[in-house]
Amino acid sequence: MKMKRSFASRVFDTLNYIFLGAFAGATVLPFLYVLACSFSTEKEILERPFFIIPRKIFLGAYEYIFSSSTLPRAFMISVFVTITGSAVAMLFTLTMAYPLSKKNLLGRNVLLGMVSFTLVFGGGMIPSFLVIKSLGFIDTFWALVLPGAISTWNLLVIKNFFQEIPQEMEDSARVDGCNALGTFARIVLPLSMPVIATFTLFYAVGYWNDYRSSLLYTTDNKKWPLQLVLRQIVLMAAGNIDGATLDEAFTQPPLEGSKNAVIIFGTLPILLVYPFLQKHFVKGIMIGAIKG
């Protein structure tokens, strides 16, 4: 249907395109600026306001941040926590979501009530801290992995997804002699691969970005994950890695540049998985919107 568009309508369209373009620009430009700064000399960062292309490529900031073992170690801790965490989280979430998706399971409503209640009320920071402490989890990986292992929201979304799988498919597996476990492993999980991919990525991003658990549950700064080290370097200290221990190769460490390099180092992994994330998350969110 072709129709003539009024003048006001066209003005609105133009402004709309510009506005949304500007918003998207404001989203990306800070990253590009920080990326440019991380490859620039101190002098250029101090002199120039906003820029995206450095006049001279300078790798000193990266040499500096990798001159100490702090960042690589924190990076490895984050990688380890992210991988173990996502695996444990998916295991816990999937195994709990499947039984809860069975409408005739005895006790299901009580369990669902208990699960949903955690969406509106929680014990809070201090009681959780005391629980972790009395379990002896302070300064261990468990404190970073286990408390976040089930997100109630993710659990309910996956449960809803399992409910959508036609019962007949599972019944036929049962007739062929599979028990509930076999049906779950051989029928349900293979049918849920896209959902599993989505939520593994969600959990992984959550673990990677988490700094609160390590802030609360680790006292030893040798066990800090990347986010906490980032906060230390960029927001608390003056860009100085390892506090006072300066590498001798730098009489004057590139403080501003290294802050930017550290930011890029912390952002890069997320940007690398983002294309995979984007493919799935819209669908992942919408599964949950179907009421069930």
Binding site: P30, P49, M96, V131
Partner: protein
């Protein structure tokens, strides 16, 4: 008639009996399902329900040596201390101000953006915008705070422009006045794009025939927006608003904690940060748990009242 009803009730009893024995059978048949539940249920008990039980230390003088069971009970002492503390009104107003600004500016932002995106005809342009504006949602608050630092510190990009134009540099990160604006700005920057997804999904479900009919009836674009588009996302907006109400006293510890410093403490100290400072750094476990519990209980009251109110005005509500 009478006989029919007796017949029906005996039927019902028989049915109930059959169902009960069926239940015993299903429990046996579902034994694997119960085994699968074990890790998850344990997780909920240990990490969600034990802390809930642990809030009882708010009514104790908790002492780590005596432990949870032997610490002396003190009733409402910590609550009275908290409400009579001069910090209380400051914390409450800081918390409520940030929440209200977030509600007034942060909540409508994704709705507006979704409506604007919905008006874009070029699918290519729309998809590119979406790809970009979703990114910050996946970036950690530490990175967001760091980017803010790079752009807004006393020698940052913003201040370079301000100084170039002949003005004095503005201490964005350390001033009382700028703090709330910075927080709201960060939230809008980080979450607006991602927040549009749920509204866009609701919009994509609208029957295009409605718009065609409206055009034939002479509706212009604004009228189409008002009479078709907005009503189609109304229930989504209300659902999200109810959920938001429950969190009016949560300002997001992660964000505020990173942005607060000794110079802006007067406005940046909110309940979440206060619980951390008093509880974790100073070790006043009982008192800070009382603060947390107060916050949690208000949250429940708010979410249930918002839900009740939504139902009163004829919306579906959450529960």
């Amino acid at each position: 008639m009478n006989r029919a009803s007796t017949q029906r009730s005996t039927d019902r009893i028989a049915l109930r009996k059959a169902r009960r024995s069926f239940n015993v059978m299903t429990v046996k048949k579902d034994v694997w399902l119960y085994i699968l539940l074990i890790p998850g249920v344990l997780h909920f008990i240990v990490f969600k329900y034990l802390p809930m039980w642990g809030v009882l230390i708010a009514f104790q003088d908790y002492n780590a040596y005596l432990g949870f069971l032997d610490s002396p009970w003190v009733g409402l002492k910590h609550f009275i201390d908290f409400f009579t503390n001069p910090d209380f009104t400051r914390l409450l107003s800081n918390t409520l101000l940030i929440s209200s600004y977030n509600l007034i500016f942060g909540f409508p932002a994704p709705v507006i953006m979704a409506l604007l995106l919905n008006e874009i005809r070029s699918q290519w342009y729309k998809r590119s915008i979406q790809t970009l504006v979703y990114i910050p949602h996946f970036i950690s608050w530490v990175i967001v705070a760091s980017l803010t630092y790079s752009l807004f510190n006393s020698q940052g990009v913003m201040n370079k422009y301000i100084v170039q134009m002949g003005n004095n540099a503005i201490p964005f990160l350390t001033s009382d006045k700028a703090f709330r604006g910075m927080i709201i700005g960060q939230t809008i920057w980080k979450e607006t794009g991602f927040g549009t997804i749920i509204y866009l999904a609701a919009l994509s479900g609208v029957d295009p025939q409605l718009y065609e009919a409206a055009v034939i009836d002479g509706a212009n674009r604004f009228k189409q927006l008002w009479h078709i588009t907005l009503p189609s996302i109304k229930s989504t907006v209300i659902t999200l608003l109810i959920l938001r109400m429950g969190h009016i006293l949560d300002n997001g510890f992660d964000q505020i904690f990173l942005m607060s410093n000794s110079l802006n403490r007067k406005v940046s100290e909110v309940f979440d940060v206060y619980v951390y400072t008093i509880g974790i750094t100073r070790g006043a476990f009982s008192y800070s748990t009382a603060v947390g519990l107060f916050k949690g209980l208000i949250g429940i009251v708010l979410i249930y009242s918002a839900n009740y109110f939504a139902k009163k005005v004829g919306e579906a509500g959450l529960f």
